[in-house]
C-alpha cells in the first residue's frame, strides 16, 4: 500500500506540500504517484524566481511510460529546485517524500486556505480509487 506520511498536506492530483522551518513550502509527488508512473527518467523543474499559480503546471516528471505535469496546489514564487533530480530522477521513486522533493515555494497565501487534503483525507481518496 502507498505510504502517506502524517507531516504534510496533499492535493487530489497526487502532490504533497509541507512547510519548512524557514516558512517556505516544499513540494513533491506522492508515493502513489511515483508508483503509478514507474521508473522516472527525466524531471523538468522550473526556473528559480518563476511565479506559479494555484493549480498551475509547474514541473514535468517523465517515466519510461509517460510524461506527466506536476501541479502546484498553491500560488507562489519558486525559491529553490532540487538540482540533483537532473542526474538522479530515480530519487523520486526511491524517496518521494525526502530526497525526491521537487521545488520550494514562497507561498503568497497561508496553506490553510488552499483546499488541501489531510493525510487521512488523501488516504481515503487513494482507497476509493
Amino acid at each position: 500500500m502507498s505510504n502517506v506520511p502524517q507531516d504534510r498536506l496533499y492535493a487530489r492530483s497526487h502532490e504533497w506540500v509541507r512547510e519548512l522551518a524557514d516558512g517556505t513550502i516544499e513540494l513533491g509527488i506522492t508515493d502513489h504517484a511515483q508508483h503509478a508512473l514507474g521508473d522516472l527518467v527525466f524531471v523538468e523543474v522550473p526556473e528559480v524566481g518563476r511565479e506559479v499559480a494555484a493549480g498551475g503546471a509547474c514541473a514535468v516528471v517523465e517515466s519510461v511510460k509517460a510524461a506527466s505535469d506536476v501541479y502546484s496546489p498553491i500560488a507562489g514564487t519558486v525559491v529553490a529546485v532540487n538540482e540533483q533530480l537532473a542526474a538522479a530522477p530515480e530519487q523520486i521513486n526511491q524517496d518521494p517524500y525526502g530526497a525526491g522533493w521537487i521545488m520550494r515555494l514562497k507561498a503568497t497565501a497561508p496553506l490553510a486556505g488552499a483546499g488541501l487534503l489531510s493525510p487521512a483525507e488523501y488516504a481515503s481518496v487513494l482507497a476509493s480509487n
Binding site: 527518467v41 517523465e62 521513486n93
Partner: protein, 363 residues
C-alpha cells in the same frame, strides 16, 4: 473479467503491478522496470508470455495452406524445429498479425500469434484452413515463458537432464525441439540470446520459481517493451496493423515475392503498391535532448508534419529516447519530432539500437 495466465497468482505473490494488456491481466513490472531491463542485457530475465496464442495446425496439406496464408514462405523451413517470422496479410496487404511459425513435421506446423489478436486471427485462419483440410488446435493447455539474456540458456539448461541440456544448447538460432512435454526454442523478443519455452500450464509456476532460485530475474511487460524497441523489433498494433502494409513498416524482408508463382493472400495488393512506389518507410530515431518520444507524435520532415512515431520510449541502455517512426521515403539524416508542442531534432538511424548488450548506434 480480464483473462489470466497460469502464472497470475505467482505474479501477484511476487508483488507485480498488474495492468490490462489486450484483455489480459499482466505484470508490467515487479519492482524497477529499468533494473529488469538491465538484468536481461547483462544476465538473465524471465517473462510470462502465456497470453500469446499457441496454435497447432495438422493435416496433409498444411505446408500448402501456410504458403497461401503467410507472406513469408514456409518452404524456407526444411529442417524439423526451424522457425520463421511472418506477417499474415489481408487481401489489401494490411497486416492482420505477425507471428512465428515452427515446422514440426510435414503434417504439423505450430503458430505463435499475439494475445490481442487471438480471436480475429483464429476467425481468419479457421475457414481458410478448412479449405485445405487443415485442423486448427488451440493449445491453451500450454504456458509460455521467455528466458532471455546472456546467461539465460545456461540457467534453463541447469534444470534439464545432462543429455537434454546438451541437446538444448545445440539448438541453432530460430530452432526449437521437443523435450518430453516441453518445447524449447532459441527465439525471443529482446535482442539477447535465450529460449522461449512452452510447458504444461500446471508446471509453469514451479519452473518460474526454480529459475528465480537460479538468479533469473522476474521481468514484466514494461521491460519487454524497452528491450524489443532497443532491438528494433516491431510491435503489432503500434508499428503495423491492418491499415498499414509490411513494405512501409520495416518488414519488406519478411515478404517472400519469390517464387513468383506462390499466390499468398495480399500478394496482388503488395505488388501493385510496389509497382506504384512505396511512399513511406520505417526508420529508427535517436533523440539528443532530454525528452521522450512517444507513439503518435508527429514527425516533421522538411517543415511538414509528414510522419509519425509508431513506438517511442526511453532506452535504458543508451539513456536516450529512441523510436520507430513511419516517415516519407525522402526523409534524410535528421527530422524533427513534435513532443508536447515543442520540436526536437532527432537523428535517423538504422535499427537495431542495441544487440547482445552493446549499443549499435553512435550517441
Amino acid at each position: 473479467m480480464a483473462l489470466r495466465t497460469p502464472l497470475y497468482d505467482l505474479h501477484v505473490a511476487l508483488g507485480a503491478r498488474m495492468v490490462d494488456f489486450g484483455g489480459w491481466d499482466m505484470p508490467v513490472a515487479y519492482g524497477s522496470q529499468i533494473e529488469e531491463h538491465h538484468a536481461v542485457r547483462t544476465k538473465a530475465g524471465i517473462f510470462d508470455v502465456s497470453h500469446m496464442c499457441v496454435c497447432d495446425l495438422h493435416g496433409q496439406r498444411v505446408r500448402e495452406f501456410l504458403r497461401h496464408l503467410l507472406a513469408n514462405d514456409v518452404n524456407r523451413l526444411q529442417q524439423s524445429g526451424k522457425a520463421l517470422y511472418s506477417c499474415m496479410l489481408n487481401e489489401a496487404g494490411g497486416v492482420i498479425d505477425d507471428l512465428i511459425v515452427y515446422y514440426m513435421n510435414e503434417q504439423w506446423f505450430r503458430l505463435v500469434v499475439n494475445a490481442g489478436t487471438r480471436t480475429k486471427d483464429l476467425a481468419w485462419i479457421r475457414p481458410r484452413a478448412a479449405e485445405f483440410d487443415v485442423r486448427v488446435e488451440e493449445r491453451s493447455d500450454l504456458a509460455m515463458l521467455a528466458i532471455q539474456g546472456p546467461e539465460a540458456r545456461d540457467r534453463l539448461v541447469g534444470l534439464l537432464s545432462s543429455e537434454d541440456g546438451a541437446a538444448a544448447l545445440q539448438l541453432g538460432n530460430f530452432f526449437g525441439a521437443e523435450f518430453a512435454d516441453w518445447f524449447i526454442a532459441r527465439t525471443g523478443y529482446t535482442g539477447e540470446d535465450g529460449f522461449e519455452v512452452m510447458v504444461p500450464a500446471d508446471t509453469a509456476a514451479d519452473l518460474w520459481s526454480r529459475l528465480n532460485e537460479q538468479g533469473v530475474v522476474s521481468c514484466g511487460l514494461g521491460a519487454r517493451d524497452t528491450l524489443r524497441l532497443e532491438a528494433g523489433m516491431n510491435l503489432y498494433g503500434n508499428d503495423m496493423d491492418e491499415n498499414t502494409h509490411p513494405l512501409e513498416s520495416g518488414l519488406a524482408w519478411t515478404v517472400a515475392f519469390e517464387p513468383a508463382d506462390r499466390n499468398f493472400i495480399g500478394r496482388a495488393a503488395l505488388e501493385k503498391i510496389r509497382a506504384a512506389g512505396v511512399a513511406l518507410k520505417q526508420v529508427g530515431l535517436l533523440l539528443a535532448e532530454r525528452a521522450v518520444m512517444r507513439q503518435h507524435q508527429p514527425v516533421v520532415v522538411d517543415g511538414v508534419a509528414a510522419g509519425e512515431i509508431t513506438s517511442g520510449t526511453f532506452s535504458p541502455t543508451l539513456s536516450r529516447s529512441i523510436a520507430l517512426a513511419r516517415v516519407p521515403r525522402t526523409a534524410g539524416d535528421t527530422v524533427q519530432v513534435d513532443i508536447r508542442g515543442r520540436l526536437h531534432a532527432a537523428r535517423v538511424v538504422k535499427p537495431p539500437f542495441v544487440r547482445h548488450g552493446k549499443a549499435l548506434v553512435a550517441l
